[in-house]
Amino acid sequence: MKKKLLAILLAATMVLGLTACAKGGSAKKVDTKEHVKITYMFTGTKPEGAAMDKFQDMNKKLNEILTEKCNAELEFYWIGWTDYLTVYNSNIAEMNGNIDLIGTASDWLDAWPNAKKGGFLELSEDMLKTYAPKTWASVSKEHWDLCKYDGHIYLMPEDNYAQWTNHGYIYRNDWAKKAGLTNGVHSWEDMTTYFKYVTANKDALGIKIAWDSDGTHNVQMASGWVASHSKFVPIDGICTAALWGGTKDDLYKIVTPAYTDTQMMVDFAKMMKEWDQMGVWKTDVLNNTTSTNRDDYRVGLVAAEQHHTQTWTDLCSKSPSNTIYDDPNAESGFFYFGEETDNVVALSITHGAMAVSAASKHPERALMVYDLLRNDPECYKLINYGIEGVSYALDSNGMRITPEGYDSSTDNVGGATSWWWGRNDDLELKDATRNWTAIEDLYKRYDKIKIDYPYGQFIPDVEVNGVGSKIKNCNQVFGDYMKQIAYGKYTGSAEDIVKEMQAKLKEAGIEDVTAELQKQFDALYKK
């Protein structure tokens, strides 16, 4: 009986398929008779003048392809950086049907609040399979699950693009070798050795200071220390201090090592005192508002920079602005926080994602256009890099270089399209100026130890029980104390200052917050 049914079904599909084919096309042929304009809204700055002309050349070419493949054209709709979040949310709330595709992000562009409020269209599996088949196939089930709110998919994640935003220290490897670290810096203790050497040989190395920190790295350094000394996985986006999170052993039990692990924080305070006394940073570091450390690093005026991997990929590469590499021995290493404990969390896959406006008049076509932009090599190159020969060229290794006569102020089309919601490593053209041997080496190490960011869907409800203000208080207290602790500017013993901080955090309600977040966690993850 079952077999018979199956046979009938099979036959039916074949017949259906045949009739569809007769009309010309695949099994589920989409009606694309009407030529439509798909508007893509995203954050970025609209080019002007000659840059606009170059941009339009690209747009015209892109539209020719899109018209041919799905009878649609793409209009770009920029949200300027001025007060961008307000303007972005207002435009989504307008719901006038003028916008189709919306570049979004769960961590910096209110993706979930907008999904919650009904600004984004719910994307059914059927829709995705039919209109964005390549995207559907390339994203794993686990990743689709991370794009769900209340059981429905709202986002198409940029999950096949390597970008590492885990923080650490960028340092001069050539100088580290001179400091006796033949293998480079791989721990906070190594970093101390390195700083000891560069501060002692400041004049010989030609630097003005080891690290011209502007006094705002307090929380980042503390998080780095915690990452390096525990299995803590912080929840992003609750507060800048990222006080709360799980551990790699138990992702869904909320802890705060910076609050509970006294000895760890005392050790941190002691080491930072040592750094301060060595003169790693300026004595007035906490009021140092004029620092240009990153640019100073490029020209060899400082010995270290604290930022994330992606910044390092720029700083470690030979480029016109990085004049340190005029010296052939110069080399930049990266000590990433968590290296000692292999504690590295990948960037959330919804750090960049595409949504469809709930008011879109042509959601199907919008999905088709997105599928092409993300997966079709021709479209992908156009929207990401511009026209070959004008905005980019390829060298003999197939790497991306700037063509002759290239003017970055007008020809950089990729800078105008902000395609950060569907980049695809399979189609990326590698920038030839980047130091790929070093970069890929590090990426491989990351891939071995990383875990996916687990909390992409968690939107804490901070309205209940005054949790929001308690979070703010804790953030404030932690930040204030870390200014003293992370820059070694406290008086008295390390034990005392840590104890004082813990008492103040308790007063600020850290335990209440933990309990409330745990409750919300359980509601979300213990279903």
Partner: protein, 308 residues
């Protein structure tokens, strides 16, 4: 005539009395004022100097009063886009039109509100005052402007909201109050209509107030970026000047630090000297407005004096 005589007497009597201690006080005063003035203008000069510096020298040596390597490259970069001149014209037009219309309706409102024979003047005053206490918030405002008034992508969305503000109306009302009611009455007795009284009698006496409030309005329009950021989308090419400037700075900050730093190659970010040059161009003409209206500020002090 009497006025100048008074002034002469004042200055001559001061001259007579000027002793050693006065000289010291005065010298000290001049010194402090000069020093303070220099301190105020110094940052401006630094921006000016740096805007003429080459990018390389700027990055190596930082801001400079006198550029070590002179270059007009930054200005060429800013002007090359071509849009800045259109923005200039737009901003100047908005400022002129906005200030003109704004001043006239604010002056009329202020005058009408203080006329004792104007019915419902207290409820209306309160209504105006009330809006300065409560507002519905951003989202309703945005939807009102875009969906009810359909002002999205229209320059009216920038022009209209800035025309009047409760506090400027109250300011004007108080200015007008200082003009004695008898002047209006005398006009009436001579058979002038309300409009005639307003234009021929009241307005000339309001010059200081017009200058003050006009300056507020003009500055408001000149510095306007907020309504632009909300209501003029990327479909509008020419945006007011300050928005363009603000956007340059914000883009740099956003790309460098907060949002997408990881994506951006350093050459995409506008260079420091370009920012300086833009700042210079954006400050430009409005600075010239101050000395022009200054004399009215000073005469504003004596406006209360009515002689028979």
């Amino acid at each position: 005539m009497a006025k100048t005589k008074d002034l002469d007497m004042m200055s001559s009597s001061a001259k007579v009395k000027l002793g050693a201690s006065d000289m010291i006080v005065r010298g000290f005063g001049y010194f402090i004022t000069t020093f303070y003035a220099l301190a105020c203008i110094f940052p401006f000069l630094i921006i000016l100097g740096s805007s003429f510096s080459s990018e390389k020298s700027f990055n190596a040596n930082g801001v400079q009063l006198i550029p070590k390597e002179f270059s007009t490259q930054a200005y060429e970069m800013v002007i090359k886009g071509g849009l800045i001149w259109k923005s200039y014209i737009l901003t100047i037009l908005l400022t002129l039109i906005g200030t003109g219309i704004g001043l006239s309706i604010i002056a009329m409102t202020g005058y009408a509100l203080q006329r004792k024979d104007f019915p419902f003047r207290n409820p209306i005053s309160f209504y105006i005052y009330f809006t300065s206490l409560f507002s519905a918030g951003l989202a309703p405002y945005y939807l009102l402007m875009t969906q009810t008034y359909k002002l999205k992508d229209s320059y009216l969305a920038v022009l209209l909201p800035l025309l009047m503000s409760p506090w400027l109306i109250i300011l004007m009302k108080n200015f007008v109050k200082s003009i004695p009611h008898e002047i209006t009455e005398s006009g009436k007795i001579d058979g002038a209509g309300d409009m005639k009284i307003f234009t021929a009698l009241i307005l000339p006496m309001l010059k200081p107030a017009l200058a003050t409030i006009g300056l507020f309005l003009a500055l408001g329009y000149w510095n306007e970026w907020y309504q632009t950021s909300l209501f003029l989308s990327s479909r509008v090419d020419v945006k007011p000047l300050q928005y363009m400037l603000y956007e340059t700075v914000n883009m740099t900050d956003a790309l460098k630090n907060t949002v997408a730093g990881q994506y951006v190659v350093i050459t995409d970010i506008p260079s420091n000297t370009v920012k300086m040059a833009t700042a210079m161009l954006a400050t430009g003409p409005i600075v010239l407005l101050y000395p022009f209206v200054q004399k009215y500020f000073i005469s504003g002090i004596t406006v209360g004096a009515v002689k028979g």
